[in-house]
């Protein structure tokens, strides 16, 4: 992994998080926080994935865990809801393209040409499982710090 590659991934993560931050109507003042959150997520994931050769699920879990913890620690500084901030940071890691490929793979199974049926099925199932496990990893990674560190609101 070169530094340029890490920088590229980090910037893309920040841009994607900012774009989705605008979509969720987060104010301009808080957008730098979104950028930081997305950049941190992608930096950690790229390090784990490309440098240490962890798999995608484990890398996403580590990234979500660190983003979740960072947001919990810094939450008083940023002027937006912590839930929005850590979710926005993790949005660039949601495996949307795998999900699309998984469903398209299942569609392809119904075509008349079944010469590569087994191959197609296995690929589609693999993509589906990766989507489920990656989303699961992100969700769990975000939930752990917020459940452990959150100050309980008394009712």
């Amino acid at each position: 992994m070169t530094f340029a590659f890490l920088l590229h991934q980090t910037i893309c993560g920040a841009l994607a998080a900012v774009g989705f931050g605008v979509l969720f109507n987060i104010g301009f003042r808080s957008l730098p926080w979104c950028a930081a959150s997305g950049a941190l997520a992608l930096a950690v994931r790229t390090c784990c994935y490309s440098q240490y050769h962890w798999n995608l699920e484990a890398s996403s879990f580590a990234a979500a865990l660190i983003v979740g913890a960072a947001v919990q620690i810094l939450r008083t500084r940023a002027d937006i809801s912590q839930n929005a901030l850590d979710v926005v940071g993790c949005i660039p890691m949601v495996p949307g393209s795998f999900a699309a490929k998984a469903i398209l793979g299942l569609f392809a199974l119904t075509s008349i040409d079944t010469a590569h049926a087994t191959e197609t099925l296995v690929t589609a199932v693999q993509y589906t499982l990766r989507v489920m496990f990656t989303i699961g990893a992100i969700g769990t990674g975000l939930a752990i710090p917020s459940l452990l560190l959150r100050v309980r609101v008394s009712r």
């Binding site: 590229h8 991934q9 910037i11 893309c12 993560g13 920040a14 841009l15 994607a16 998080a17 900012v18 774009g19 989705f20 931050g21 605008v22 979509l23 969720f24 109507n25 104010g27 992608l42 809801s81 839930n83 979710v87 993790c90 949005i91 660039p92 949601v94 949307g96 393209s97 999900a99 699309a100 490929k101 469903i103 398209l104 569609f107 989303i135 699961g136 992100i138 969700g139 769990t140 975000l142 939930a143 917020s146 459940l147 609101v153 009712r155």
Partner: protein
């Protein structure tokens, strides 16, 4: 419909002072639900509202499309809070349509780079996602069903992204098509579905997860139609 119009009308509710209090707190909860907030934050904020109005006891039941509240006594400044809530619904600044479209375009282009779309394919992804967001905004403004909307937008954005990448001589047409529709992936509900289940709201969480899955299927149908169309016209995907 404007957010403000949907607020429950005070005049409809009669009876003791408890009812308008519950209505105000419930309205706050509804706005949070519509924004997709997680069940725990809705619970905490609605409780805060009711307490601020003077309730001694607050119980909230959160469903996927329903909220039920039970509160105990103590009126205090209901009119004031009602006015504040109305003001909040009306005055919350929203990004303009174009700012949003450009931001979404940028986000999808960045996604495309993360998915290894080459540079010549990144421009078309930006434009396609931007147009996709404009179409989505327009369709949702016309109250088109969200699932149908997802298919239409996914079809338009993927065809535009694919065509653009083809004419830009990109080597990654398929990936460019996929990157153009990533604006439709329901990331927040998919993450919040899990935190809701983990925080003890399995019904809400699983309902959200099912919605996410169905939206993904409708998005994939649009992408699939787009691929069929492009390959019909001889574009090698």
């Amino acid at each position: 419909m404007d957010v403000k119009d949907k607020l429950i009308n005070d005049e409809v509710s009669s009876g003791p002072a408890l009812e308008p209090m519950a209505m105000v707190a419930l309205d706050a909860g509804r706005m949070l639900m519509e924004a997709g907030a997680s069940a725990n934050s809705i619970d905490a904020i609605v409780a805060k509202f009711a307490r601020g109005l003077g309730a001694d006891r607050v119980d909230l039941r959160i469903g996927y499309a329903s909220l039920a509240i039970t509160i105990g006594i103590g009126p205090n400044g209901i009119t004031q809070t009602r006015a504040e809530l109305t003001r909040l619904a009306a005055k919350t600044p929203r990004h303009s349509t174009w700012v949003m479209a450009v931001a979404v375009g940028l986000a999808c282009a960045a996604f495309g780079r993360l998915l290894k779309v080459d540079w010549s394919g990144t421009g078309p992804v930006f434009v396609a996602a931007m147009i996709g967001q404009l179409v989505r905004r327009d369709l949702l403004g016309r109250h088109v069903n969200v699932f149908i909307c997802a298919t239409i937008v996914s079809f338009i954005a993927s065809v535009l992204g694919g065509l653009g990448a083809f004419f830009a001589h990109s080597d990654s047409i398929t990936t460019a098509m996929i990157a153009s529709i990533l604006l439709l992936v329901p990331g927040v509900p998919s993450v919040n579905a899990q935190s809701d289940i983990l925080e003890g709201h399995p019904t809400l969480g699983s309902a959200r997860a099912v919605t996410v899955a169905v939206i993904l299927i409708f998005v994939a149908v649009g992408l699939w139609l787009g691929q069929v169309l492009l390959s019909h016209f001889g574009i090698q995907l």
